[in-house]
Every structure is written in structure tokens, then in C-alpha cells.
């Protein structure tokens, strides 16, 4: 086993204690759990505030706007000319500051301007997103109901395609409420049957979701238990060994 550095040992030890603190919630909510829960939120928030400034605001906007990305060469010339159009970024900066009018009772309506702009932008982008997202699915759902394998019919594939198309249509029909069915009519009985089939096939889908969700949730738990049993116990042992060596214990 490779020797762990002091900081790595500390990271793992603290990680294990934090994990046990969260697990203590299973017995009963307690202050140990609450402390670490709040610590997690604080760290996440702190992380989330600095990174957008570091990765976007400073290098892409403020630095070019202030001309700080222009360097002077040894002969006195400059790497590039300053583009005055960059000053146009002041407009979205000032407009974005209207978010903070939300704290004023009199001017809080101005925050709706900014929110409206962003909502409108996401609404406008949704068109391109929708067509790129749905059209390939629509194309893919036009499956041949009879599939030939050479000269003969591939029964399994044909059945699969037919079942897929029937599932797709019946589930879509299940959510179709635009027309009321007339009771007693034959067509209504057929459509009720299609709707019921849609419901049953959806249950198969939800069963698949449940089975997959079990794996997802259990994987998270197994990983944490693996961490505690392997990494954390190794870190405790390594910490004890380092402490012992430090104190001169053989």
C-alpha cells in the first residue's frame, strides 16, 4: 500500500466523519448532522460564487473591457488594438444590476425586466432545442413493421418494432383528452382498450425506472460504505502509525 501524505489522511478522516454525521440522521435528526449539513450548503454556496467570476466574468468580460489582455512588446508595439465595442458590455452589466432592485419595495418591478429578458431568451432558444431534440426521435419511431432478413421475415425484430410503435401510440393516446368518447360505440371500446394498453405499457416503463432507480440509489450507498470500510479505515491506521512514529512509539 502506498504511503498516504498527511493532507490526504486528513481529507479522508474528515470525509469519513462527515459521512457518519450525515448517516446519524437515520437514527434521529441531531445537531451533529445539522452542523455538517449546513457546512455543506455553505461550502457549495462559496464555491458557486467565485467560480463564475473566475471562469467567465473576469477573463471574458472585465479583462478585455479594461484592456488588461493587451500586452506591450519590447519594441513598444502592442499585441492587439483595443476594441472600443467591448464597452458595450457595460449595458448588460447595468441591466443585470437591476436584479438588486428586488430589495426595494418601490423599484422591485424593475427586477421583472431582467427576469423577463432571460425567460424570453430561454423561450426563444427552445424552438431550436425542440426541433433538434424531437425530430430525430420522430424519425426513429417510424420503424418498419415487417422486417426482412434476406428472403424470410425476421419475426422477432418485426414483433419488436410493432410493439414499440404500438407502445408509443397507445401511451401518447393515453394522455390525449381532446375528444370525449361516446359510451357504447364500438370505436370507443377499442379506444378505451388502447388507452388501457397504454397504461399497462407505461407500468412496464415505470417498473424499468424503479429497477434502475434502485441501482442508482444503492450505488451511492455502496460507494460510501466502501469508502468507510477501505479508505477511511486505511486512513485511521495510517494516522495512528504517523502519530506513533511522531511520538517515538515503536
Amino acid at each position: 500500500m502506498t504511503a498516504l501524505s498527511t493532507w490526504t489522511i486528513l481529507n479522508i478522516l474528515v470525509g469519513g466523519i462527515a459521512t457518519l454525521a450525515i448517516f446519524s440522521f437515520l437514527i434521529k435528526e441531531n445537531s451533529f448532522y445539522r452542523f455538517f449539513e449546513h457546512l455543506y450548503i455553505g461550502i457549495a454556496a462559496g464555491f458557486g460564487i467565485i467560480l463564475p467570476i473566475k471562469n467567465f466574468l473576469w477573463p471574458k468580460i472585465l479583462e478585455p473591457m479594461m484592456g488588461m489582455d493587451i500586452v506591450q512588446f519590447p519594441d513598444g508595439t502592442y499585441s492587439q488594438e483595443y476594441n472600443p465595442l467591448l464597452l458595450l458590455y457595460v449595458a448588460p452589466i447595468l441591466f443585470g444590476l437591476l436584479f438588486y432592485t428586488i430589495y426595494s419595495t418601490r423599484f422591485s418591478w424593475m427586477a421583472k425586466l431582467v427576469i423577463g429578458l432571460l425567460l424570453g431568451a430561454s423561450g426563444g432558444m427552445a424552438f431550436e432545442g425542440f426541433f433538434n431534440y424531437v425530430i430525430p426521435q420522430l424519425e426513429g419511431s417510424f420503424k418498419p413493421l415487417i422486417v426482412f432478413d434476406g428472403a424470410s421475415i425476421d419475426l422477432m425484430q418485426s414483433f419488436n418494432n410493432a410493439l414499440f410503435v404500438f407502445t408509443l401510440l397507445s401511451v401518447m393516446y393515453y394522455f390525449f383528452f381532446s375528444f370525449q368518447l361516446t359510451p357504447g360505440k364500438k370505436i370507443s371500446r377499442v379506444l378505451v382498450g388502447v388507452s388501457a394498453s397504454g397504461r399497462w405499457l407505461m407500468m412496464v416503463c415505470f417498473g424499468a425506472y424503479f429497477g434502475s432507480t434502485v441501482m442508482a440509489r444503492m450505488a451511492l450507498l455502496v460507494e460510501r460504505l466502501q469508502f468507510l470500510l477501505t479508505d477511511w479505515s486505511a486512513a485511521i491506521y495510517a494516522a495512528a502509525a504517523q502519530l506513533g512514529a511522531h511520538l517515538g512509539v515503536a
Binding site: R34, E37, H38, I61, G96, K112, G124, F131, T167, L168
Partner: protein, 346 residues
């Protein structure tokens, strides 16, 4: 409808009109020529909301701590975590900027070499304060700046390595590798510098291009070395402690509780009482058994059955739900864009 309401609706519409037109108009119209700048503008507007969350957290939890309201103690943990992470991330950023500034001395000369070659190929002769700067003169400026820099880099390399503890220096393979790469790149640069100096006033573009390449490699390796040294610093260790030690562990642990909850839910809530629930449970059973090693002990066909379930009936139903939801999403987006349902804007 008041002017305020009209204004809000107008701004909402304007927000979406660019993206809508960008999608419907052909690229040949050149409508989206400034797409990057316009996109950055929109992102910038959204980024201005950064401090809103911070202000809210400080108001709620800061207020709890200041006035000793009920449950104030965990709020201290939140504020400590928040401030600690902000400080450490800012320090991390400051240190990486210092590294960038240090590397920039090299990349500036690299860019200068490229500019000399480019201007010479285009016949451009810049002028500064009445002095014309032909390529030969500019080359002299470049070499005069590079000579002391190369000398300084030798010293800086030694200084950097001394910052790192001896045992870390020996065990850190990345540090050793970058150190070797940097030494090699520096030697290469000095060799090319000597060659150029030997040429005197002669200007040969290929020589400067080689020097530019060497400076590029030198910049990358110096940055790598500085970053590897910085990786052994207290700031980086603190960052790693907060992110890997606390944040990752806490996040993983929070979500791992769901494993316990799903077990309890399986016992208490999952009742097989109707045809639908039988179908659901049967499908779930096949999917679960088909994805674990024990399923193979029961039947070799279980993974195939699982795959069939996922590819045929499940995919069909999921696609139907997905398409329906996407269509509903599009309609909602349209209504949002045109402010058709915006009671709060009135």
C-alpha cells in the same frame, strides 16, 4: 395594461427574438455574425445575479447568528463554510493568476516573435515615436528581452523547487517530469537564442518561428512546473480539504441516504394489489436481476430480457412521455416568450 407591464412584455419578447430569428433565418444571411458577443451579453446579465444568493444567505443565517434566533448554531457552520470556501477559492485564483503573470513574460515574447514574422511577411513596418521598426531591429529587441529572461528562469526554477519539501519533491512524479521538461525547453530556447545572436543583424523568419515554438513549449512547461509546485502549497491543500475532504464526502453521503430510504419504501409502500402494480413489479424484477452478477446465476438470459424491456416497451413509453413533455415545454416556452400567461406582470 400599464406602461410597466408593456415594458416588461416588450423586454421579454426582445430577449427571445434574436434566438428565434437565428434559428429560422439561414446562416447565409449573416444574422448571427456576432453570436458569441450577444450570447456573452445574455450570460453576463444572468451572471449579475451572483450576489443575490450570497445576500440572501447572509441575511437569513447572518441574522440568525446576530440575534441568536432559534437554530443559530448550525448557521455558524454555514457561514464558516461559505466564508472559508470563498476565501480559499479566491486565494487559489490569486495564486493561479500569479502563475499566469509569470508565464506571460514568456508568452509575450513568443507572441512578439510571431508578430515579427507575420509583419515581415506582409511587409508591415511599424513606427514608434518616429522610429521605424524593421524586422532586424525588432529581432534585436526580442533577443535583448529574452536574454535576461532566460537567465532569470534558471534562478526561478531553483527557487520554485526549494519551496517544495524535499520528501514531496522526491515523491511528486508530476513535479519531476515538469522540472525535466522545463530544463529541456529552457536549454532548447537558449540554444536557439545563441543561434539567433550569432546571425547578428540577419533576419531569417524560420529561425524566429523555431524560437517561437521553443518559447511556446517553455511557457507550457514553466506553467506546468509552477502549477505542480503550487500543488504542494497550503492554499491548494486547504482547497483540496474543503472540496475533496468535505464537499465531495458530504454530497455523496447526503445522496447515499436515499439508498436507505428506497429500502424502507420498498418494504412499506410497494404493494402489489392491481394488474398495473403486478406489471410494474415484474418489469422491475427483471430489470434488477438482469443488471446484477447474481442474475447470471439464475439465468443467462436475464440480461437479454432486461435489455429487451429497456429497448422495446420501456423505450416506447418513455419516448411517448418525453415527446409529449417536450411539446408541452415548447408551448410553455412560446407562451413565456410572448408573455401570454404572465399574471404577475400586470
Amino acid at each position: 395594461m400599464s406602461i410597466r407591464s408593456l415594458l416588461i412584455r416588450g423586454v421579454t419578447f426582445l430577449g427571445g427574438v434574436y434566438f428565434f430569428l437565428k434559428f429560422v433565418l439561414p446562416e447565409s444571411t449573416g444574422f448571427a455574425t456576432y453570436h458569441e458577443q450577444i450570447s456573452d451579453g445574455f450570460v453576463l446579465v444572468g451572471a449579475m445575479a451572483l450576489a443575490l444568493g450570497l445576500i440572501n444567505l447572509l441575511m437569513v443565517h447572518g441574522g440568525k447568528v446576530l440575534y441568536r434566533r432559534k437554530g443559530w448554531a448550525p448557521s455558524v457552520a454555514l457561514l464558516v463554510g461559505l466564508i472559508a470556501m470563498m476565501v480559499v477559492t479566491s486565494l487559489d485564483w490569486r495564486e493561479t493568476r500569479k502563475i499566469s503573470a509569470s508565464v506571460q513574460r514568456i508568452t509575450t515574447l513568443k507572441d512578439f516573435a510571431d508578430r515579427i514574422v507575420l509583419d515581415a511577411s506582409k511587409g508591415i513596418v511599424p513606427e514608434i515615436a518616429g522610429e521605424k521598426l524593421p524586422p532586424t531591429v525588432r529581432k534585436r529587441y526580442l533577443l535583448d528581452a529574452l536574454r535576461p529572461l532566460a537567465s532569470d528562469l534558471h534562478t526561478e526554477r531553483q527557487t520554485l523547487l526549494l519551496v517544495v519539501a524535499e520528501d514531496s519533491r522526491a515523491s511528486n512524479l508530476t513535479l519531476q517530469r515538469f522540472n525535466n521538461e522545463f530544463s529541456s525547453a529552457l536549454a532548447d530556447t537558449e540554444r536557439l537564442l545563441a543561434l539567433e545572436e550569432k546571425q547578428g543583424e540577419d533576419f531569417e523568419p524560420s529561425g524566429l518561428q523555431q524560437l517561437s515554438q521553443a518559447l511556446s513549449t517553455l511557457g507550457v512547461s514553466f506553467r506546468g512546473l509552477s502549477t505542480a509546485v503550487y500543488g504542494e502549497s497550503l492554499v491548494k491543500h486547504l482547497y483540496s480539504f474543503l472540496f475533496e475532504g468535505l464537499f465531495i464526502s458530504l454530497g455523496a453521503a447526503m445522496f447515499s441516504l436515499l439508498g436507505f430510504y428506497i429500502s424502507a419504501a420498498a418494504y412499506r409502500a410497494f404493494r402489489v394489489k392491481s394488474v398495473e402494480s403486478v406489471l410494474m413489479m415484474t418489469a422491475a424484477l427483471f430489470v434488477m436481476l438482469g443488471q446484477i452478477p447474481f442474475g447470471l446465476w439464475i439465468s443467462e438470459s436475464l440480461p437479454e430480457i432486461r435489455l429487451w424491456l429497456l429497448e422495446v416497451p420501456s423505450a416506447g413509453a418513455a419516448q411517448a412521455i418525453d415527446m409529449g413533455a417536450s411539446l408541452a415545454g415548447l408551448v410553455m416556452a412560446f407562451r413565456m416568450w410572448l408573455s401570454i400567461e404572465s399574471e404577475s406582470f400586470k
